[in-house]
Structure formats: C-alpha cells, structure tokens
C-alpha cells in the first residue's frame, strides 16, 4: 500500500496499516508535518467548541480526546481548558453552551468569573461567564514522528521529499504512482495494490491525477507564539467562531489564534501584518496582556474544507464543516484509491482508522484496528520536539563535553547527532530544516540568527554537508523563520533583524549567488 501525505492522518494511516500487518510505504513531498499538521494550535479539543454546529463531531472529539490521553500520554500535556465570555459577548450564546455540552455528553463544569480568574489571572476583568472543559495540549510533531516511527518499527517505509507527479492507471485501477525526488529531480515509480490520499489541502491535486475531483476550499489560519507562557490551561472564547478565540499554552510559550481567510493558492502560505494586528487586537479582549506581550513568531496553516458535505451554504471557511471527509472514489470508478481529508488534529486517529478499514478490507485483510487499543510508543524520532527536554538532558550531563548549537533552547551536538542518525535511517541525507522540525533549534528568541549557521558548521565538520549545500540550506532555514518573524516586526524587533542582516549580508554576503 502507498500512503501519500506525511501529516498526522497519513502517519496515522501508515501506523494503523502496519499494525494490521500490511506492508506500506509513506511518502511526503516535503517532510513529516510540513502542512497543516505542523501549523496549528496543538490543541486536543474537548469537543465543546463544536457543540453549537455539529454535535456528532463534538462527541467524536470527546471520545478521541479520552482515548489519546490514555494511549499517547507522552505527546499530551493534560492542561484542562476554559471557555470564557467577556462583557461584549452574546448572553444567549453563553446560556446555551452548558446545555448543549451536556446534550452531546461533553463534560463541562460551571465556574464563577472570580474562580476562573483565580485559575488564570491573565483573564480580562470584565469576564462574565466561565466553564471548565477537558481540553489538552498535544505536540503534533512528536505525535506524527512517533506514529511514523511505530509504523517503521512494524515494517513500513517512510520516504521524505518524494513528490507525486502522476499515476499509471489501467481501466479504473491505479497500477503505480509516478514520483520524483524533490531535491535530485530523480523520477521513479512505486507500485502498490491500494493507495491512500492523506494529503490534506492537497487532496484534490492528488485526486485529480487519478482522474477524480474533490470540490474543496481552503482557509488560511494564522497564529502567534508569545515569548513566555501566559496561561496554564487552554482558554477558549465563548462566542461564535472568530479571530483569535483560542489561547493554547505549550511548554514555555503560549499560542494565540487563529484567523480564517479564504485563499485559492496553496503555494505561498504566510501570515501577514494585518492578521497579526487582528489577532493581537481580538485576543486582548479575552487576555489583555496579549496587547503588550512580546512575540517570537507567527505562522500559518491551511484548513482543507470539502464542499460536498452539509453546511456548504453560507460564506467563508468557518461555516463549512470541520468534520472529516472520506471518499472511496467508487463514484469516480477508481477501485483502489481512498481519500481522507478535512477533520481535526484531535480526530486524526479515527480518520486514519476509517481509511485503513476500507483499504484493508479491499486487500482481504480482516485484522481489527489496533490503534484504539495499543499504546503509541515514544520514539527517538519524536523525543527532541518537547520543549524543556533538551535543557534537562544537557544540564543532567554536566561532565559531558557537549557543545550547545542552539543556546536559546539548549540543543546540543549530541542531540543533533541523534536526530541525524534517525533521519538517515529513513535513507536520506538530513537538511537543516528537517533537523529544525525535529528539535527546538531555531524556535527560541533568536529564531535562527546564530544557530542555523552553527548547525551548518557542525554538519560540515561531521561530513553531513559537502560543497556549497550548506549555504542554500542556511538560506532556506533563515527564510523559513523570516516568514514568521517579518509580520511581527514593529519596534524592538528591528534590532534583531539588523543584527542578523549584519552577519548574513554585511559579513557573509549571503545575498550574493
């Protein structure tokens, strides 16, 4: 089987299939979680957010929330969550919330505004209602990397930087996927019996190659990361979905978002200055200190929204269902393709199971799904994404001559060695961006000013980079971080950019070819 797409769903499908004893290959055009799975809040929904629009989706979230807290606890910080309303929010909406939660079986507890402000002193003074729910925080990188690692441990193959260019089909049957290596441009084919399209926002591009069509729209959501952690629990604004409704804590930071902007083009997804301003303005109604907070970075992801489902009336991304879409493509007369897209990070496992059920059955495999029973093992691939782990490990080994490459997040040469080894297990030479995605490198306040370059120097020393490869990779890494920093620059940030440009351009001349 071939699984296309290495986000939460794709890695979930690969693991699910591997646990059923099915041989599978997972490909991604870039890297694990390089799409929406790597650009969201990292929120494990309690379900309460969906009680107004989709009770079934709400109940589904609740079930998956409980399941994942039990089976993948190492990826989750069980913070709990709050829903809060401020003076200007609609009373009627607030009043319906607890009854709807109870109706769909979502645990909810009433809190007085005073009690809520005692738990979260950052909340606005004009708070008028508060409820406690079972939201939690999930590390999407660790989750997908651990899913991929467990899939590999059970026989699956994971190929990064492999881009689908087309399918060889014969009479409604896909024989093979035509692919090419993104860096080398080298084409090859992958033959398989069944194909799973788990490419999120790119689902229609893949389906089109197979001769099918999925009517989709895309909604860009931008988020901001604060320099310090502001809140202990997830804080949701209790109002109809709008900008900057959710403040999610994570490790040493908090994340506020999102916006929702309909877009047509998936090529250049980036947060804008206007979105940053809107997020800060709206977020400050709920948590006033967001107006004065320092921000490390902004980022943006794309929600794939499928129009075939109920709820297509109305305009804009938020009125289309957030529930997932599963297509067997029998109506397109393709017998061995399944598309699974849409949905939420919280329900990724269930989505993977539904897709795996179909293709396993088509293959005649009747083994039951195990991902709702077996623990997700922690792996060496995912371990370094955890904030605070690198400093802990580094500090506990004071006698080791282990040089810090990233001083903000305390990522050392030893940790880079580990990540490089696990990336090479997947059969390809690691890049700076890939190492960055699997660690905290570049995620601290310096945002890659020093560490990108230090990492390149270290990889050269170890023989992992040759010729002038490293220069292009530093440029890519810096530009990747720049994308998220540029819209945040307003005053003090100008100093950091000036410093960074002094090194990279005035001294190194990296703007030259």
């Amino acid at each position: 089987m071939l699984v296309i797409g290495g986000g939460a769903t794709g890695t979930g499908v690969a693991r699910d299939l591997a646990l059923r004893g099915i041989d599978c290959i997972l490909i991604d055009q870039k890297d694990i979680n390089s799409g929406a799975s790597g650009a969201n809040h990292g929120l494990l929904h309690s379900g309460a957010r969906y009680v107004f629009k989709d009770g079934e989706a709400a109940a589904e979230c609740h079930r998956e929330n409980q399941l994942l807290k039990r089976l993948a606890p190492h990826c989750i910080e069980d913070t709990g969550g709050l829903f809060v309303a401020v003076e200007k929010d609609d009373d009627d909406y607030v009043a319906r919330f607890p009854e709807l939660c109870r109706k769909f079986g979502i645990p909810v507890a009433d809190l007085t505004p005073e009690a809520a402000r005692q738990i979260e002193p950052c909340l606005a003074k004009d708070l008028k209602a508060a409820f406690a729910v079972q939201d939690a925080v999930i590390d999407p990188f660790m989750l997908s990397l651990d899913n991929a690692a467990d899939a590999m441990a059970n026989g699956a193959t994971v190929l990064r930087n492999v881009r689908l260019t087309g399918f060889d089909t014969d009479n409604g049957k896909i024989l093979a996927a035509r692919v090419e290596h993104r860096r080398t441009g080298k084409p090859f084919t992958i033959s398989a019996g069944q194909f799973v399209n788990a490419t999120g926002a790119w689902a229609n591009s893949v389906a089109t190659m197979a001769g099918a069509n999925i009517s989709m729209s895309y909604s860009k959501g931008s988020l901001l990361i604060t320099q310090t952690r502001i809140n202990e629990r997830v804080i949701n604004r209790l109002r109809p979905a709008s900008d900057a409704d959710i403040l999610v804590p994570g490790g040493t930071v908090s994340i506020i978002g999102t916006t929702s902007l309909e877009i047509d083009n998936l090529d250049d997804i980036r947060p804008t200055t206007a979105e940053v301003d809107a997020i800060i303005r709206e977020g400050a109604d709920m948590v006033p200190e967001l107006a004065r907070a320092r921000y490390i970075r902004a980022y943006a992801g794309v929600r794939p929204l499928v129009r075939d489902l109920a709820g297509t009336s109305g305009s804009g991304g938020r009125s289309i269902s957030r529930n997932y879409t599963l297509k067997t493509h029998s109506e397109d007369n393709i017998e061995n393709l399944v598309t699974i897209t849409g949905g939420k990070l919280t329900t990724f496992r269930l989505m993977a199971q539904k897709a795996a059920d179909i293709v396993a059955k088509r293959m005649g495999n009747t083994k039951p799904c195990l991902t709702d029973k077996e623990h997700l093992p922690a792996s060496a691939k995912g371990e370094w994404t955890e904030p605070g782990k690198s400093p802990r490990v580094w500090m506990s080994n004071p006698e080791r001559r282990d040089t810090l490459i990233c001083e903000c997040e305390m990522v050392s040469e030893y940790m880079v060695d580990e990540i490089v080894r696990s990336l090479k297990d997947e059969g390809a030479q690691p890049t700076l961006e890939e190492i960055g995605r699997r660690s905290r490198i570049g995620k601290g306040p310096c945002q890659g000013t020093f560490c990108s370059f230090r990492l390149a120097a270290y990889l050269y020393r170890k023989g992992e980079l040759i010729d002038d490869q490293g220069m292009d990779q530093v440029r890519d890494f810096v530009n990747g971080r720049w994308k998220g920093f540029r819209p945040l620059v307003r005053d003090r940030e100008l100093m950091r950019v000036e410093l960074q440009e002094s090194f990279l351009c005035a001294l190194f001349g990296m703007e030259e070819d």
Partner: protein, 432 residues
C-alpha cells in the same frame, strides 16, 4: 594649539560633543581632536564588538541584480550618478581618501595596521566560506588575502567547542576556487574538557606564553605541506601582532586570522586600541548613554553624563550625532508606528507602513526598504528640520543613522561613517 575640555565644578565645557562610540563616533572624535578642538564623547562602545575589523568603503550596488566593483571609487561614481541622495554624493574622492588616511593613521598609532590598495578592494575569507570584499584590511587578515591571491596551500583550523566557525565548511565552500585548501579541528590547550568555548576567553588564554606554546604544539603536526594557516581571530587583544609573528616563526608558515561571529575579538581590538590611545588626545570619553539633550544659549547643546558617582553637566558648542540605527538606538519607532530619531525627534525619511519595511525574501538582492530610512542632511551632514533647513546650525549627523544608504548590502559601513564624520568635522571646525 590643542584646546582642552574645561571643567568648572561639575560643569564641562567643550567645543564638540560626539554622541556615539561606534565607527562614526570614533572617527568624528579623532577628526575633531586632530583639528585642535576640545571634545566630549559619550556612548557605550558595544556595537563595535560586532565589527569584522575591516574597513569597508564600497563594493556593491543592490538591485534586481547585484553590481559589484573591484574598484570602490568606480562603484561610488556609478552609485552617486544613480542615487544623488546617497551620503557618498555629498563627498569628493579627495575627502574620502583624506578621511581614511587620517582615521587609519590614528589607528596605526594605536596599534592596528591596515593594508589598503588604493584602486582596489581586497578579499577576505569569512566563516561561511565566502569571500568578503573590503578596502582596508587589518594585517592579521591581510596575510590571508595574500595567501588566497597567490593560490597558496592553505590549512583552515577550527577548535572543537568553538561554535559557528567551521574549517571544513570554509574549505568545502571555497574548494571550487581554491582546491588546495585543507581543514582540521583541534583541541584548545587547557580547554579539552569544556563544551562551550568563546573567542574572547580563548584570546585571553593565548596572551599567556605557556598556552601559546602549547597551542603551537597542537598545530605543528598538521602544518606540513601547507604555506599558510587560517585561524579564528583569537590571537590576542593587545599583543596580536607579536603573537602572530611568534606563531609564524614557530610553525614556519604564514598565519592569518578569519573574523568570527559576534562578539568578535577583532571588534574588541578596535575598541581597546581606540580607547587606549584617546589618552594622547583632547577627547574626554564617557562610556554611558545620553537620553536628554537641551539646545541652549548661543545655539549650543547641554546634557548630563555620569561617571562613577559623579554627575557632570556638559556644554558643547557643536554636536555630532553618531548614534547608529536601531541596534545603536539612534532610531526607534514612535506610537504611530513611524520611525523616529531618538534624541531630538528629528524628521526621518520614512519607508512606508511596517508591512512594507521588509521584503518576503530575507536575501532579496534589492535589500529591505527600511534600511534606507534615516536622517536627511544638507551637504555638510547637518540634519534637516521640517522646514528643510538645518535643524540647528551646530548639529551634525554621521554614520549609519543617515538616510538613503544600505551599508549592509553596499558593504559601505565604515566608509559612510568615516567619510560623513570627516566632512562634518571639517565644516564645524571652520565655524569655530
């Protein structure tokens, strides 16, 4: 006859106040002192520790494509024809040459020797394995410039634990142009057990004769077959010429230095040499920042500085702002999101809303718009007020705070600083 700063009680009286201790501030103070004027200089000399140690004049015109010039003067001629507002358009070639001569003569006397080819930039190796163009190169780097030009067999050495300086990275990136380049990593004597090494720390270590001997011993087995050895710039803060000569003798090869990331020893050397040599001049230097400046009687300026537990009131007849850009806090942003000048709230050439300050591509060849914001001046570098006339008769501005330049992309940082300071001081000296 040299005028000295006069002191009455807690009041200091001088002819010229220089605000800022970076390249432009140093140059302004030197030029004023050389003209026999009494000078008070204030400013924390912190940014200079980011300096590579080279004095760039000009090499590149940013744009859709980069136009680079071996001869900086040829480049400046093209630049000023196209960009008549550029600071270089306000100065003649003679003024540029005289400014550099006067500045480097002072630094030479302070212990830093520069090598300069009048009509041509020189190339130095950077830690990225690129070649940087500069006009005046300190002798420790110049040895590398020559070794490169003469296609010598070069060994680049890095030190385990010293981050952001990779010998193999440099050799790999330069190997197309310089195939005879080797690289090794060595342990630094006495620091074998440390994980993190800093350039400044190693530099202090090497000032001890014993450590230098042991370092030479570490290097000796690797140098056979090489004509030149390139090291990170750690060979001493004060006795760098002596240390390098000793190493060359002991190893029988050329030894040269490569600048490192900040805080750099090369920048520190410049600062230490400058401060050390100020004692021979009429400059009174306070390493503090100034917040509030009053324009007073007779067009003069008045501000307070603190030295130890003592407060002084400084009265100056003329003032030069060499306050730098955002990092130096010469420029900042006001409540409405506009770029402002921090001491006098002088009018600043703006570059649009902040969403237009920067390009999406960090490395865009045109450079970022915001880098051209800054102070508009008259032809002698007096910043203009809102009425387009000099804001004050005796107020001048020099260095990166000036508008219509992009020193990081043009590789013109030291040049703009030295030359604008030169012209400003020449003018104010005439008026005193």
């Amino acid at each position: 006859m040299n005028a000295a700063v006069t002191q009455t009680g807690n009041t200091l009286n001088c002819q010229v106040a220089v605000i800022g201790s970076g390249m432009a501030g140093m140059a302004a103070a030197i030029f004023a002192a050389n003209r026999g004027l009494s000078v008070v200089q204030v400013g924390k000399p912190s940014e200079i520790s980011f300096s590579s140690g080279c004095l760039d004049l000009f090499s590149t015109i940013p744009g859709e494509t980069l136009r680079s010039f071996d001869n900086p003067f040829e480049g400046i001629d093209v630049l000023t024809a196209e960009q008549p507002c550029h600071p270089y358009a306000k100065v003649s070639r003679d003024e540029i040459v005289q400014g550099f001569e006067e500045f480097t003569a002072f630094m030479n006397a302070a212990g830093i020797r520069y090598h300069c080819t009048p009509q041509s930039n020189q190339k130095i190796v950077t830690p990225a394995g690129t070649l940087k163009s500069s006009w005046c190169v300190p002798s420790a780097m110049y040895a590398g410039t020559r070794a490169l030009a003469e296609k010598k067999r070069i060994l680049i050495v890095d030190i385990r634990g010293l981050k952001g300086f990779g010998a193999r990275q440099m050799a790999q990136n330069l190997k197309a142009a310089h195939p005879c380049m080797g690289s090794i990593t060595v342990e630094f004597p006495g620091r074998e057990k440390s994980g993190d090494l800093m350039c400044e720390r190693l530099t202090w270590d090497l000032e001890a004769p014993d450590v230098l001997k042991r370092f030479i011993k570490v290097l000796r087995p690797h140098v056979a077959g090489y004509d030149a050895i390139g090291l990170p710039a750690i060979l001493g803060i004060y006795r760098f010429e002596e240390l390098r000569t000793k190493m060359e003798k002991a190893l029988g090869t050329t030894v040269f230095e490569i600048p490192t990331l900040a805080p750099s020893v090369t920048g520190l050397r410049t600062k230490e040499a400058y401060i050390g040599h100020l004692g021979n001049t009429s400059v009174r230097h306070f390493p503090v920042s100034v917040k509030d400046i009053q324009t007073g009687k007779n067009g003069g300026f008045c501000f307070e500085v603190t030295e130890g537990f003592q407060n002084f009131e400084v009265n100056a007849e003329r003032m030069i702002l060499a306050t730098g850009r955002f990092l130096g806090k010469g420029l900042g942003v006001n409540d409405t999101g506009a770029i402002r000048e921090m001491l006098f709230d002088l009018p600043v050439v703006q570059t649009g809303h902040r969403s237009q300050w920067f390009d999406r591509d960090f490395f865009n060849k045109k450079g970022h718009a915001v880098n051209r914001a800054g102070l508009e001046t008259d032809v002698v570098f007096r910043p203009l007020g809102r009425d387009k006339k000099p804001f004050a008769e005796g107020l001048y501005a020099a260095g990166s705070v000036l508008a219509h330049q992009d020193w990081k992309r043009e590789k013109s940082g030291a040049g703009i600083s030295i030359v604008s300071a030169y012209k400003a001081v020449a003018h104010l000296a005439e008026t005193l």
